[in-house]
């Protein structure tokens, strides 16, 4: 015992020295430890085979998805799109028009100013004797539409519309019906003996003026709104995916450490806050890597479309780069901020709850409540997307758990005052702080609590107790 006294004595002095400076060096230790844990979590995740496979698959899907509009356009361009209509008139003169005049009237009415191959409808007339033959042609799909006119007992024109389309897949019926209504009106007016000027007076549209007293969105160009829709949808889906996917990775990671008793070593080496912060930031960085590369590949794919379409369709090419530039840079910046806040908020909650479970299999039931919050925020987006400036939307967007989705939508489609952005971000930050504090306490006690399952009362006692 005696000969060992000297080194032990020295060490004791070192310890007491370390104790004295520990508070001063604490911040430095904090950063160093959090950095180490971030590095471990990040490498651990991105090196996983499942992570690499999923990422590559997603990248391929996103890249290919960028080509869908162009391919669609290509298909439309290649298929003959003129609808063939044969008119069989068995009603004599209709509205004072003979067969030839009627056919030409219908052609102008349906095609407007389009002529030749640009016209969507090709109209011809045939005598009533061919009716049986024409009807079987429609049935076989050789003819698109057969329109028969005759007169009912009360002398009104009767229209019979045969089509090769099914009831659920008929895009022409409403157009033809409108035409029939117009012809009936003109024919009745003619039979009543009205002059053409009298008929015109009868058909004159009402003098109707609408006055919108509230500020309207006309300051935003249409292209801006369209781009807003695309970005809002893409952003909302991206946030939803990231939060659900990566928050549950956080929860599973915590449960895993607890399950493998790694935790007992870790809490001896680092504080719960360091462990929590390192894990969340590390996994968040992996998430950003994946989502960031998805966005880059997606944008690259979209940018490719402009030259591709120019090559395929010549001057008719539409601009996809429109979506990228029409919305201002602050939007992208705010999107990133809400994205990160959403992730931190939910990941913190998930981490605290992950520390509460006994076995890894129980993670899913433990994270039920925040998962419901995530899904409800996602669904609220779809319920409110048509009324971005409604009071209810504004109120809901202040609730931190839903802010990321609803604020994103309001930013893209509605009007948002600058202070609303400040308030919602501040509210989210406060909630994140509260969640971190709560989760760190749950973590501290939960990680070492094996065997007993805590009730809600016990959870609160842990959180607010000594």
């Amino acid at each position: 015992m005696i000969p060992q006294q000297t080194p032990v004595q020295e060490r004791r002095e070192q310890e007491q020295g370390a104790l004295a400076v520990s508070s001063g060096a604490a911040a430095q230790h904090n950063l160093r430890n959090i950095g180490l844990i971030i590095g471990r979590e990040y490498r651990n995740l991105v090196k996983r085979r499942s992570f690499i496979i999923t990422s590559v698959l997603l990248l391929v899907i996103v890249f290919l998805a960028a080509f869908i509009p162009t391919v669609g356009q290509l298909i439309t361009a290649r298929t003959p799109s003129q609808t063939q209509i044969v008119v069989v008139n068995d009603a004599g003169t209709v509205a004072g028009l003979n067969d030839a005049a009627l056919t030409s009237y219908i052609r102008t009415e349906l095609n407007g100013t389009n002529t030749g191959s640009q016209a969507p409808y090709a109209i011809s007339s045939q005598p009533a004797t061919n009716l049986g033959n024409l009807q079987s042609q429609v049935k076989q799909g050789k003819l698109d539409i057969l329109l028969m006119l005759d007169r009912a007992a009360n002398q009104n024109v009767r229209f019979t519309y045969d089509t090769d389309a099914s009831a659920t897949n008929d895009s022409n019926q409403s157009t033809i019906q409108a035409l029939a209504q117009l012809l009936t009106f003109l024919d009745t007016a003619h039979r009543l003996g009205l002059t053409s000027s009298q008929t015109q007076r009868l058909a004159a549209p009402p003098d109707f003026t609408a006055v919108h007293t509230q500020q309207s969105q006309t300051t935003r160009p249409v292209s801006d709104i369209a781009a807003g829709y695309v970005l809002a949808f893409a952003g909302v889906i991206l946030i939803f995916l990231s939060v659900t996917l990566y928050s549950s990775i956080v929860a599973t990671g915590v449960a895993e450490e607890k399950n493998s008793r790694m935790m007992e070593l870790l809490v001896n080496a680092a504080t719960p806050f360091q462990l929590l912060a390192g894990k969340i930031v590390g996994i968040g960085a992996a998430c950003l890597t994946q989502m960031g590369s998805l966005v880059v590949v997606g944008i690259a794919g979209l940018l490719l479309q402009t030259p591709l379409q120019a090559a395929l369709f010549g001057a008719k090419a539409g601009g996809f780069s429109l979506y990228l530039t029409a919305v201002s840079i602050p939007f992208y910046f705010l999107f990133l901020i809400y994205f990160l806040l959403a992730f931190f908020l939910y990941a913190t909650l998930f981490a605290g709850l992950g520390a509460m479970v006994k076995r890894q299999e129980e993670v899913n039931s433990a994270i039920m409540l925040p998962t419901v919050l995530i899904i409800s925020g996602y669904l609220l987006f779809f319920f409110t997307v048509s009324s971005p400036d409604a009071t209810v939307t504004r109120v809901l967007s202040y609730i931190p758990f839903w802010t990321p989705w609803l604020m994103l939508m309001r930013l893209a489609l509605g009007t948002v005052a600058w202070w609303e952005i400040v308030v919602t971000i501040a509210l989210m930050l406060l909630t994140i702080l509260a969640c971190t504090w709560f989760a760190a306490r749950l973590y501290r006690y939960g990680v070492l609590m094996y065997g007993q399952r805590p009730g809600l009362g016990q959870l609160l006692k842990l959180a607010f107790g000594r």
Binding site: Q4, R12, L19, S22, S260, V267
Partner: protein
């Protein structure tokens, strides 16, 4: 000084796991922490490490409350092995050492040295889950010591090790002791404690049953052990009638008995000769820790049937 527990109690719910436990571990000692399963060894260790807080009582290291002691001072090897199963051995150990504040170079140096000593250097770039149980345990030991802690808390370090690996670990213990570390380890392999430890404590149901240096504990028991073999009378049933003698085992090779400290052993030899026995073996020895453990713990944990434990 050293590590001192004063009247420490801990409840899990309404169940008292540790009852007014007091003990002292001298600095630089190899200290055996003995007790049956469920006696409260792991809970006590977790309280020493400030993973649990005692409900009452105080735990100090060199006069400083353990809550205030820098974490780096402690090295901990949990009973149920805890490492990242999918992480490489060297990455894992470096991560843990650096988390404790060791510089990368220092950690690397210590790692190389210990992997060499434990003959697992070929496994350094393998994942933990690919290693045999014995090698996993060695890595777990390294995880506890690589940051050069002052006090080692080891929960059942020898469980599941084959004799060769147990010996490697024993050597490592002695090496750490030479370096002036204080080592507290729990075990129910009492031969190991007897071989390695200066001081021990035996706890049962959260209470200290006996503690002190191994020699004192044996002396305190107030008994000696005698072993007798008679060639012509292997049962020697007359021994049961002798005052101050209690037969504990009748084995093929000898009969073992405990004798009161104040009894002159010659009485047994004389009685054997009187009964016409031919003595081929007679020896006096101290009680083993196993005897003491069974006597103390067996009596407390099974008050209704002490004899069944004693004859086991």
């Amino acid at each position: 000084m050293g590590l001192i527990l004063r009247d420490v109690s801990k409840y899990f719910g309404s169940f008292q796991v540790i009852k007014d436990l007091s003990m002292e571990v001298r600095e630089g000692a190899l200290f055996g922490f003995l007790g049956a399963n469920g006696a409260g060894k792991t809970t006590t260790m977790r309280m020493i490490l400030d993973l649990f807080r005692p409900d009452s009582g105080r735990i100090t290291w060199n006069g400083i409350d353990v809550r205030e002691v820098p974490r780096r001072v402690w090295g901990y090897m949990p009973e149920e092995r805890g490492l990242y199963p999918k992480m490489r051995v060297d990455e894992q150990l470096l991560f843990l050492a650096r988390l404790q504040g060791v510089s990368k170079q220092e950690a690397q140096k210590a790692l190389d040295e210990w992997l060499e000593r434990f003959q697992i250097i070929v496994n350094r770039d393998r994942r933990i889950e690919e290693l045999s149980k014995g090698n996993q345990q060695k890595v777990q030991f390294l995880a506890a010591i690589l940051h050069d802690p002052t006090i080692l808390i080891m929960d059942e370090p020898f469980s599941g090790l084959d004799p060769v690996n147990a010996n490697v670990l024993k050597e490592a213990f002695l090496e750490m002791r030479r370096r002036g570390k204080t080592i507290i380890f729990s075990t129910h392999q009492l031969e190991q404690a007897e071989e390695l430890c200066q001081d021990i404590v035996i706890i049962n149901k959260g209470q200290s049953v006996v503690q002190g240096s191994v020699r004192d504990v044996k002396r305190q028991s107030g008994r000696n052990v005698a072993r007798l073999k008679l060639d012509n009378d292997p049962e020697a049933n007359w021994l049961d009638t002798l005052d101050g003698v209690q037969v504990t085992k009748r084995r093929e090779d000898y009969i073992e008995m405990q004798i009161e400290a104040n009894l002159n052993p010659n009485v047994i030899v004389e009685a054997a000769l009187q009964h016409g026995g031919i003595i081929s073996r007679f020896e006096l020895t101290e009680p083993s820790l196993t005897d003491i453990f069974i006597e103390k713990v067996g009596a407390v944990s099974l008050p209704d049937a002490p004899s069944s434990v004693l004859s086991a």
